[in-house]
């Protein structure tokens, strides 16, 4: 590994001070599962690494005043996978967290790392976007909130300025009679990267679907919503035919590439299949 200095702050303010004026010469490390491999093969060569593991504020996992969930950026995938409240109220988040790497990885890997690394295949992004989570960002000028949907700007590019850090995610409490699901396809069952991932989140109204959110991963430079498919469901009864039609419409939101994990055509096929399956599970969980 190339040499670097290490800062070990204990507060967000001290983090920001350590990062100030460093530009792109500074990298943050939380779980290290994405950063260390990149340091080891010299894809990154920071002069300074700031260790977030001593910053308590980043580890919050609690209900906020509005009844939603605050997830600190340094909460691990394993914590989200096992937390009883997350499993009960936000099962798609727990499901996506359980798919990240192995147990050895999930005990280190953090939700903030998964999002800030901004891989198109990041498993934890789609359910959080479908749940309309907001990212709380801390910087020298104070704190700001952005919808997670607009946090991603390209492959490995986010809305963060070099002197800013992701503090936490705020996930609104789903309305009554809501349900969600995240599924991905991988050739192997464990320790693989999504060929396609799909999160669906539904809220039921009076005999019809009141709200639908469908988010796709690994089929574009960033996670993307499938608005046409969502519109096809909202205000309609959630019949098998409607779900099938929405699944077909979701394909139009995908702009996949062909690579060693799968061809573009195969990915489009998977979008349809996984959208249908996640919608069926989301409907069931919503209590239909």
């Amino acid at each position: 590994m190339r040499r670097f200095e290490l800062a070990v702050p204990t507060s967000v303010d001290d983090c920001l001070k350590a990062m100030a004026g460093q530009g792109t010469a500074v990298k943050l490390v939380a779980g290290g599962t994405d950063l260390l491999p990149q340091l080891k093969n010299s894809l990154l060569n920071p002069a300074l690494v700031v260790d977030l593991s001593g910053v308590k504020e980043l580890r919050a996992l609690e209900r906020d005043a509005a009844g939603g969930l605050r997830i600190g950026a340094a909460v691990t995938a394993r914590e989200l996978e096992l937390d009883p409240r997350v499993r009960a109220e936000y099962p798609a988040i727990a499901e996506s967290a359980a798919l990240v790497g192995s147990i050895q990885i999930r005990n280190l890997a953090t939700v903030g790392g998964n999002l800030c690394n901004a891989a198109p295949s990041a498993d934890m992004a789609p359910p959080l976007i479908a749940l309309e989570a907001e990212a709380v960002i801390a910087g020298p000028k104070g704190r700001r909130r952005v919808p997670l949907a607009s946090f991603f700007q390209g492959v490995r590019r986010t809305a963060l300025e070099p002197d800013e850090l992701l503090l936490e995610l705020v996930v609104p409490r789903p309305a009554p009679r809501s349900g969600g699901n995240y599924l991905r396809h991988t050739p192997r069952r464990e320790l693989d990267i999504a060929v396609v991932g799909v999160a669906s989140q539904l809220t039921l109204g009076d005999g019809v679907c009141a709200k639908a959110r469908i988010v796709l991963a690994s089929v574009a430079p960033t996670p993307v919503r499938a608005p046409e498919a969502e519109h096809a469901l909202e205000g309609q009864p959630l019949t098998a035919e409607r779900i099938e039609a929405a699944a077909t419409l979701a394909v139009s939101a995908a702009s996949p590439i062909s690579d060693q994990r799968g061809s573009a055509e195969y990915r489009r096929h998977l979008v349809r299949v996984l959208t249908r399956r996640t919608l069926i599970t989301a409907r069931e969980r919503a209590g239909a």
């Binding site: 200095e5 070990v8 491999p37 080891k40 690494v49 990885i105």
Partner: protein
């Protein structure tokens, strides 16, 4: 790029060691503390040969900076036995001849020990899931499953020492 003092607990003993900021926990354990049980297989968190417990949780020590272990408790395969009495998992692995080349075994044992600590009576699929992050290139998984199953019986029955 001065070295910094790392203070932590390793296998129950307080440790103080000077490490460079860019050194991994795995390298500090092996090179500075002489604990060569954890192995470097891939160095990127894929193979599990470097698995140790950090504050009781199974982690890939090749992905942890040594200084991130400050103030925390580390357990390696060297700390699994208590006072020369093998852990039931180790005993079962020895008795059933699980190791072939042996390179993956310290990591597998730490993964299995973490599993049994949380879930003393795992099903076969839970055992498979529990060691899914550990690759054995001798492909000796069948005997691992048998030995972990047997040791789990011992642990769950409270016969652990």
């Amino acid at each position: 790029m001065a070295k910094l003092i790392l203070r932590c607990t390793v296998n129950g003993e307080d440790v103080e060691v000077l490490v460079s900021p860019y050194v991994t926990l795995l390298d500090a354990l092996r090179e500075d503390l002489g604990l060569t049980g954890p192995k470097e297989g891939c160095g990127t968190g894929d193979c599990g040969a470097c698995s140790v417990h950090l504050d009781g949780k199974l982690v890939a020590s090749c992905l942890v900076l040594a200084l991130q272990a400050r103030g925390r408790s580390v357990k390696t395969i060297e700390g699994l036995a208590k006072d020369d009495v093998l852990h039931p998992l180790q005993e079962a692995f020895v008795r059933m001849g699980v190791p072939q080349c042996g390179f993956c075994i310290p990591g597998v044992l730490m993964a299995a020990a973490a599993l049994l600590a949380d879930n003393p009576r795992p099903t076969e699929s839970e055992i498979r899931y529990g060691i899914a992050g550990n690759l054995c290139r001798c492909t000796g998984y069948t005997k691992m499953l048998a030995a972990i199953t047997e040791a789990a019986g011992t642990v769950a029955a409270g016969k652990e020492r």
